[in-house]
């Protein structure tokens, strides 16, 4: 048999990353027969596939978001477990991105490709830490693929939030955070920093956050913000989807300080554009140093770069003597941009 080329194993097609010898797609953006899903964010986990293979947490989140019939059949797989699909062996490994997030390692013959999905190597008390998987081809995201993105210490950012709450006790603090993963991490970091007052939640946050709690993550006392009197929200912290923090919804808060927890907050223009007053640099994704260190450590000789700032990362790889190419995959990005408003959370 001729030499195996990586694109014989995984190939980008319109519906996503296709594994022909395995007969499945990874994070397909269109309905397919068999889908392998890395994590629960809506740009990666979509409804309508025939069969879905994912971690239990990811399957649970898809069920919460899309209802019972989100897929024909489902199969749960644990970290480190191996499954044979067609001519391939597939294993799941923690990606450190959100609860249940996984990197998918696809091995065909002796050749291994890791599709890392979204990942971060920084610590996160709400999910299993990122695990390094040595491989021949590493498929990396590049959300923060520019050297200006260095995210530093998330606990420091939470301290910044608490300092602001202490300085402005008569104002409400509204923290914009993606509802899956970021919100729970911010809450957990607040708790770890010793903040034990009730934390308020926008309606769109509740389901997923309660799911995290049901998985044994202690988030302290949480309350729905709906129906709470304006005056009693002074000095409190409320978590809300980013889109809500600049909408009429905010009028229920006394003189709110608008914070936003996101890796984008590293860049002032991005924060200003959103009208953020208290940018908190807390990211779900690896920063530049994390991306480059991870790529180097996988030992991969070839790197495929998807969604984000591909150019800079591809350039970096090549300057280090690695083969690298941007992978033309469409349909991925911040979950926020693609997330439809949840029912019952219309302007009020």
């Amino acid at each position: 048999m001729t030499h195996m080329r990586p694109q014989d194993i995984l190939m980008p097609v319109a519906s996503g990353l296709c594994c022909k010898p395995g007969g499945f797609h990874i994070d397909p953006v269109r309905p397919v027969e068999r889908a392998v899903i890395t994590h629960g964010h809506s740009d990666h986990a979509r409804a309508g596939h025939g069969a879905v293979l994912a971690t239990q947490e990811t399957l649970d989140m898809m069920r919460l978001r899309y209802g019972e019939n989100f897929a024909g059949t489902t199969q749960a797989i644990g970290y480190g477990e191996e499954i044979r699909l067609g001519d391939t062996r597939v294993t799941f490994h923690p990606a450190g991105h959100v609860l249940g997030s996984a990197q998918v390692a696809v091995t065909c013959k002796d050749f291994c490709i890791v599709a890392s999905g979204d990942y971060k190597d920084a610590p996160d008390p709400t999910c299993t830490p990122f695990e390094l998987v040595p491989c021949d081809v590493f498929i990396t995201e590049a959300t923060f693929g520019l050297p200006v993105f260095r995210h530093g210490d998330a606990t420091g950012e939470v301290e910044k939030l608490l300092a602001s709450v202490a300085l402005f006790p008569e104002r409400a603090h509204l923290v914009g955070a993606y509802s899956l993963g970021k919100a729970q991490r911010v809450i957990k970091l607040l708790r770890d920093a010793g903040y034990d007052a009730p934390i308020y939640l926008h309606g769109a946050m509740e389901k997923i956050t309660h799911y995290y709690q049901s998985r044994g993550i202690d988030l302290g006392e949480l309350r729905p913000v709906a129906g709470v009197k304006k005056a009693s929200l002074a000095g409190t912290i409320t978590l809300a989807p980013p889109s809500a923090t600049s909408d009429v919804w905010t009028r229920r808060f006394p003189d709110p300080v608008t914070a936003f927890a996101s890796g984008w907050m590293r860049v002032r223009a991005r924060a200003r554009q959103r009208g953020v007053e208290l940018p908190l640099v807390v990211s779900d994704h690896a920063d530049w140093d994390g991306l480059t260190a991870t790529i180097a450590a996988t030992g991969a000789g070839e790197v495929w770069v998807t969604h984000g700032q591909e150019d800079a990362l591809v350039h970096w790889c090549r300057s280090k003597g690695l083969r690298a190419q941007p992978l033309d995959l469409v349909g991925y990005g911040d979950e926020e941009e693609s997330e439809p408003p949840l029912q019952g959370e219309a302007e009020a």
Partner: protein, 625 residues
Amino acid sequence: MNRFAELLDRLAYEPGRNNKLRLITSYFRETGDPDRGYALAALTGALSFKHAKPALIRDLIASRTDPVLFGLSYDYVGDLSETVALMWPRRGTNNNESFPSHPSPPPSPTRGEGAQQNAELPARVTTGSASESDGGSPLTIPSPLVGEGQGGGYTGQGVSNGLHPSNHNNPPPPTLTEVVTTLRTLGKTELPKQLERWLDELDETGRWALLKLVTGSLRIGISARLAKTAAAALGDKDPHEVELIWPGLSAPYLDLFAWLEGRGDKPVNRDPAPFRPVMLAHAIEDADFQNLDPADYIAEWKWDGIRVQAVAGRDERGQITTRLYSRTGEDITGSFPDLVPSLRLPGAIDGELLILREGRVQSFNVLQQRLNRKVVSPKLIKEFPIHLRAYDLLGDDENDLRELPFAERRARLENFIGKLGDPRIDLSPTVPFASWDALTAARADPSSAGAGEDADAVEGVMLKRRDAPYLPGRPKGQWWKWKRDPHIIDAVLMYAQRGHGKRSSYYSDYTFGVWTGRDEVEELVPVGKAYFGFTDEELLQIDRFVRRNTTEKFGPVRHVVHEPDKGLVLEVAFEGLQRSPRHKSGVAMRFPRISRLRWDKPPREADRLETLERMLKGEAAEVEA
């Protein structure tokens, strides 16, 4: 420096004045001398050192990073200081390092924020699916952290230091004092090395603030006045008190902070030509007149120039020092050297800066040619001759007149101006009136009420109580301003943008336009932007209208329906017009605000650009003269 940088960072995002004050005051409280003093100097623009050129910063980053990565980053961030601050590599991580010997340990879950979680969610190690064909990986496979505490030693920067090699014997980051005092004495050739050292020592925000400071582009929306007010709040003092002693103070203001914290006496202002906080007027409303007696008031013209304070005083050696202050106390003497020789007599005049040509007052547009000039050329001085029109006398030689009633100060002023006998300085005439009706008539037609040919430069009338002392700020019932009716046009709302701070959930910034074109092809062209003038209730109404009538969205901007029969007409009031090549319409308004909502008016009946062009003709002619 890092703490100061943190303050600047926070201020840059905070839109509310009171909140800015709280942030600054809290910084002064938490930060010791002399750092806070230099911070106060930086915020009030009182620091002076030779600034670094952007080219120097570019050279520094070029020596440390890959040019392609810098280019991509700069394109993305759009600001040189910020790009450099964010991507400045820590020592030892620059890209000259060879990749195969990358000494970095693999990214590892031992970056311990999640110690507790590790116990809750079992992490598994895998060595599986590692390729045998890559000749054996040099990597050690990380073992998961199981256990308690911050296992990975994850403490702030430590994370990155652990992950990415760096110098563990880093010197502490410089203090603001160190930066400021070093910059003052540093030679030009030593600057690059010094900057590089500081950039290595500071964090991202610290580097950003440092670069903004050394390039002289510290624009964070803080006025000197606001910074002084924040300092005053530290000791529960009236900001005017700080303003009064300010000219005698210098960085790092140890005596000021000692006084504010009750540890020292109030510093004495020994400046021979100090600024005196300005007295301001309230806008008068129709209803106010019934409670006022015309006999209690003196009226004078309100000239459309710049309010200034011209002060001359003798120093210890008897030499005259002369200063021109803006109404906020900013020293603007340098912009008007041609006025200085005229201020020969020790005293303090409150007056209006104007341009006079052949004895005639020119419009504000003409005066504008002389504002904010770095270089004042002889040509400029000749073409735009400066003039001071005096309203009030606050000091006469050694005597402080501010406690005297206005009528008496006015008499002294007349005497003072007479003694001065200088063609560049004259007296603003009073407007005689016996009743409010008479004053109403004078205000409506200043030219026949004494202003003569200068009537166009009259902005309205001022009413000053005869017995009013000169009080700082805007005291109630002493001075009133009664402006002439502004220019009014009906324009159509075209775009709306969200406001900031309290208004961030409201569409409160409005771009409006007027009709232009010929025959069949009529279109609206934007002529201005306004974000005040409306009541809270009206804001709610417009906000609702914008949300319901959006045709397109571009980020924070909404296109609002504006067709001949569909749309919202805004009555816009403004003070003047100027030609502007930056606007598509070719005109720019001065001080536009929404004066009424014309729900009753269909957009097709709004004003046309020709109307504005007619209004412009008179004013523009003067500028070009």
